[in-house]
Symmetry: C2
Subunit: 139 residues, 2 copies
C-alpha cells in the first residue's frame, strides 16, 4: 500500500507518516521504485499512534505504548503506569490553565472595553508603585 492510501485510511497526513518513519515509529518496506510499501500491521500501528496522540500521549509515550502493544509478555501494570503519569501531567496542565483562566476572566470582566485608555488588565500587568520602588532601588 502506498503512502497516500495509508494516509487516507489512518487519517494521518502523509507528511506525518513520513515523519513517524523518520523517528522509527513505523518501518514500512520499500517497493522497487523506492516508494514506501505499507503492510497491514504498519497501518494498524499508525491507527494506534493516531489514537494515542489524540489522547495527548507524547511521542516517547507512544513509542513505549507501541512496544508494549506488540509485546505478548507485557503486563498491564506497565501500560497503566504510562497512562497514570500522563493523566497526572494532564491534571497539572488543567490546573495551570484553570488558574490562568480565573485571573484573566476576572480582569476581562473588570475592563470597560471602551474608547478610554484606562484598563485594569494593563494595570495588573504593569508593576505597581511599590514594585517599581523595589525594582529600581537595590533589592
Amino acid at each position: 500500500m502506498n503512502i497516500g492510501e495509508v494516509a487516507e485510511r489512518s487519517g494521518l497526513p502523509a507528511k506525518t507518516i513520513r515523519y513517524y518513519e523518520d523517528i522509527g515509529l513505523v518501518k514500512p518496506l520499500r517497493s522497487a521504485n523506492g516508494y514506501r510499501s505499507f503492510r497491514d500491521r504498519d497501518v494498524h500501528k499508525l491507527a494506534f499512534l493516531g489514537r494515542a496522540r489524540a489522547l495527548g500521549f507524547s511521542i516517547e509515550d507512544c513509542r513505549n505504548l507501541l512496544k508494549l502493544y506488540e509485546d505478548d509478555h507485557r503486563t498491564s501494570a506497565e501500560v497503566k503506569h504510562i497512562a497514570e503519569d500522563h493523566l497526572d501531567r494532564i491534571d497539572r496542565k488543567i490546573a495551570e490553565l484553570t488558574h490562568m483562566r480565573a485571573t484573566l476572566a476576572h480582569l476581562v470582566d473588570a475592563c470597560a472595553g471602551d474608547h478610554r485608555p484606562d484598563c485594569p488588565i494593563l494595570a495588573d500587568l504593569a508593576p505597581t508603585q511599590e514594585e517599581i520602588a523595589l525594582l529600581n532601588e537595590a533589592g
Copy 2:
C-alpha cells in the same frame, strides 16, 4: 544595570532576557564594554512581560500588549480584545484536555494494572476487528 541584576529583579533568567532583546521586546543600551545596560523602563517592561507570559499570553500578544501599555492613546477595547481572544484559546484548551482526561481516567480505571497482559487501555488504542477490516480492505 547589568543583566544579572535585572534577571534577579525581574525574575526572568538572563538567557530569556537576551532572547527578548533578540526578538525586539526590549532594547537595552550598551555600555562601553559591550555589556547590556538596562534602564528602569527596560526592567519594568521585563516585569510586565513576565506577568503576561505567566498568564499564558503568546509572545506576539505580549508584543501588542506592550505596545498598548506604552501608548497613551490606546483604548481599553483594544486590550480587552486581546485578552478575550486569549481567554477563548484557554477555554478551548481546557475543554480539549478535559475531554482527554475523561477518556484516559476511564481507561486507567478499567485497567487492572497487574502482571497480566490484558489491558483495556491498549485495547482502546488498538484497531477493533471491524476497523481492521476497514483498514485492510479497500475503503
